[in-house]
């Protein structure tokens, strides 16, 4: 048994060390003075989803309105309506793509289940708005971000995605070329549905 | 009449009246504290510095707080409606008190020998009081010490729960090493 009071003294020494240490060692004082300084988000950081487009913000959207993400979204915050042409035929792009990020819980499942790498997670987190309702409902045009932006915030992941897409495209082109060649030699064969949704 | 005396007397008497007449007993106790402070101030006014300070220390610091504590412990703090505050024989009591007051005042008023000039205020240091206590008043002091000790023991025994074994043992004792 130690001397009574020694435990208290040990504690006092410890707090005194921390008191002094907070002035000299940055490791002890971990607080970030947020509005003035902010830590860069790590590469894997995820906040709210966005839609990736190539070249054109509207036409170039990779999204084909397949609604898999809408179905899988745990809090059901995605709302998609596919574009239809005049005859009512479903076109493979969204007319409406809304995400209510006041409901979204940043789980990344939409990005994971998307077979087209069309929806990805943003790292932007300063999204506070003055209006409580509506302002946090993001529409297609708010959500559309370029592939360059994606490459900037998630370089590693984006490189993988680009490689995969390039590979897919090459395969499709090869297939199309083969089909064209096949179509060219025997006459009248129908063109194969190259880009059917899986 | 000295205005200081007058003010202090009024405060003291008001406090005393409040202390016996108010319904809510916590108010009574607080009024009692006011009376005590008033009396201490009167002591100081008389030049009895030491007695005045002891009055505050003992009466305000201890007696008033003890009374307050007792009020809380006996749950008599809340004056319930419909419960009589005054005893059945309150008229007799009031009459007795009035008679006593009349007697005393009559005696005081009829004693012309009391109307004398106060002598010069005595210079009485704390050291002097202490020395007196330790020499001239030593025996009473010792007896008082004995009395206080007896009181303390008595009060503790009186206020102790009757069956200490029946009560749940407090934490540390219960958690003694097996």
């Amino acid at each position: 048994m130690s001397v009574p009071g020694s435990g208290i003294l040990k504690g006092l020494v410890e707090t005194a060390r921390n008191f002094a240490g907070s002035y000299v060692s940055p490791e002890r004082l971990v607080t970030v003075q947020y509005p003035e300084e902010s830590l860069p988000p790590p590469e894997n950081a995820r906040n709210f989803p966005f839609l990736v487009y190539d070249e054109d913000p509207d036409k170039g959207l990779r999204c084909v309105a397949c609604k898999i993400c809408e179905k899988e979204c745990p809090p059901q915050c995605i709302y998609i309506v596919a574009e239809r042409d005049e005859k009512g035929k479903v076109l493979k792009r969204p007319r409406i793509f809304d995400i209510d990020i006041s409901v979204c819980m940043n789980c990344q499942i939409c990005a994971e289940v998307c077979p087209f790498d069309a929806i990805k997670m943003d790292t932007e987190f300063e999204l506070s708005r003055y209006e409580r309702f509506g302002a946090l409902l993001l529409h297609k045009q708010d959500l559309a971000k370029s592939n360059e932006y994606y490459r900037r915030i998630h370089p590693t992941e984006a490189a993988e995605v680009d490689a995969r897409l390039a590979e897919d495209r090459a395969r499709q082109q090869a297939k199309a070329a083969a089909a064209k060649a096949a179509a060219a030699s025997p006459a009248g064969a129908p063109a194969p549905a190259a880009d059917k949704t899986p | 009449m000295n205005p200081v005396f007058f003010i202090l007397a009024v405060v003291t008497l008001a406090g005393a009246l409040g202390a016996v007449a108010l319904r809510n007993m916590v108010h009574c106790a607080l009024c009692l504290a006011v009376t005590f402070i008033g009396i201490a101030a009167l002591f100081l006014h008389q030049g009895a510095q030491f007695a005045g300070l002891v009055q505050v220390l003992v009466y305000v610091g201890a007696v008033a707080v003890l009374i307050v504590f007792a009020i809380l412990l006996t749950r008599s703090g809340d004056a319930r409606k419909g419960v009589a505050v005054f005893s059945r024989s309150w008229k007799t009591g009031l009459l007795t008190a009035a008679a006593t007051l009349a007697t005393l005042v009559a005696a005081i008023v009829n004693s012309p020998g009391l109307l004398r000039e106060a002598p010069r205020a005595p210079e009485l240091s704390v050291r002097q009081i202490g020395l007196d206590l330790m020499s001239q008043w030593l025996l009473p002091l010792e007896i008082l010490g004995l009395l206080l000790t007896a009181t303390m023991i008595g009060a503790v025994i009186l206020a102790m729960p009757e069956k200490p074994s029946g009560e749940p043992a407090p934490g540390p004792e219960k958690g003694a090493r097996p």
Partner: protein
């Protein structure tokens, strides 16, 4: 300006101010100036102390503390004060209006009264009362009533629990607090705080002052006094009446706005007053620690020591958990009170052995005094040590 004139600058200023007035008004005005000076100084110190406490606690906890209002957050107390002022003053419907209103006033008033006898510097005691120590305890005795009034008048179960705790704690710790000062009174033979402070002046030619804390009984007395003072001031680890994690804010739970600020102020002022008394009794009052530092003004030393003790208060608060009610009571009655009585005996032994002239008498004097204190301390804590201690764990 000489060192002496700087030392007396406030006293001289007051005299100069008084000399402008007719003779008859002077005593009254002198009192008023003293009161105003105490109020101003300690209200400012209260503001500074809240800031220091928050900063200090922050640094102890590896945080920055307030640093947004003004440079380094120095204007934080202003912001706090403004917030307190403009906050709604909430009065519970069931509350006893008058008592609820009077409670913070009673508390702050009684604490403020105690300042009247503290010597803040050479010739700077507002009143040099013959029975200064007695006055100090008498004046601060009424704080208990303030706490009770607050707790009872709020008509909340939490605040009632807090008030009960507060009263029990303050009564229990009042005794060791008073008893631990008796050693000093015995040795100096005076109840006057000015005289006690003067007795600790560094003697001519000596380096170290004759502070009472440098004697074994004085050190023990100081520690006992500070322990009891922490409890009297309701500061951690004895902040049970507040008991933030148990009874939320105890007797203050139904207070808001400025009344709450008054309670806070009362707590801090109580802390300063107790520290001031400790300084005067044990830490050499307004005297410099070393004779060669005597050039600095006496009030500087007083306030420097005050801030040092304040730092100790904050340090304790940042380190220690709270005791439990029964443990607190046991500590007061079964350890602190006997120890302060033992300390009285030690002080007696010390002052009687002052006449010893044998060789080695100094050492014997020290050893006997220290033994007289340490052995009972260990003996008194034997029950606790049998029950509580570090444990060894086994592994499966």
């Amino acid at each position: 300006m000489t060192a002496a004139s700087i030392d007396q600058v406030f006293v001289n200023a007051k005299q100069a101010l008084l000399s402008l007035l007719p003779e008859t008004l002077r005593p009254g005005l002198s009192m008023a100036i003293n009161a105003a000076a105490i109020l101003g100084t300690f209200a400012l110190l209260f503001a500074v102390a809240t800031l220091l406490e928050r900063k200090g606690l922050g640094r102890i906890q590896n945080r920055y503390g307030p640093n947004r209002v003004g440079p380094f957050g120095v204007l934080q107390p202003v912001a706090d004060g403004l917030k307190m002022l403009i906050k709604e003053d909430i009065l519970p419907r069931q509350a006893d209006r008058v008592v609820h209103f009077l409670a913070p006033i009673a508390l702050v008033l009684s604490v403020l009264l105690a300042y009247a006898v503290l010597p803040f510097g050479r010739n700077m005691a507002p009143i040099d009362l013959d029975a200064g120590v007695l006055y100090f305890f008498a004046a601060s005795a009424a704080t208990e009533l303030g706490v009770f009034m607050a707790g009872w008048a709020s008509r909340s179960k939490y605040s009632l629990l807090g008030a009960m705790r507060g009263i029990a704690q303050m009564i229990s710790y009042e005794l060791p607090l008073v008893l631990s000062t008796l050693g000093v009174i015995m040795v100096t033979g005076s109840l006057s705080l000015v005289e006690i402070a003067e007795r600790q002046a560094p003697p001519a030619g000596a380096i170290l002052g004759r502070w009472f804390v440098f004697t074994p009984w004085g050190l023990a007395g100081f520690l006992l006094f500070m322990t009891a003072a922490v409890a009297e001031a309701n500061r951690a680890p004895f902040d049970l009446p507040e008991g933030e994690s148990e009874i939320i804010a105890g007797h203050m739970v139904e207070y808001s706005g400025f009344k709450y600020a008054l309670f806070f102020m009362g707590e801090y002022l109580g802390m300063f007053a107790a520290s001031g008394l400790a300084i005067t009794l044990f830490l050499g009052g307004y005297h410099a620690p070393f004779a060669f530092l005597g050039w600095a003004p006496s009030w500087f030393w007083f306030f420097a020591k005050l801030l040092a003790l304040l730092a100790v208060f904050i340090w304790l608060r940042g380190t220690l958990p709270r005791l439990r009610q029964d443990q607190l009571m046991n500590f007061a009655w079964k350890w602190l009170l006997p120890m302060s009585l033992v300390n009285l005996v030690a002080a007696g032994v010390w002052s009687y052995s002052a006449a010893w002239t044998l060789p080695g008498a100094g050492f014997v004097r020290w050893a006997s005094c220290a033994g007289l204190l340490i052995l009972p301390a260990l003996w008194l804590s034997r029950g606790w040590r049998a029950r509580v201690g570090p444990r060894v764990y086994r592994y499966a």
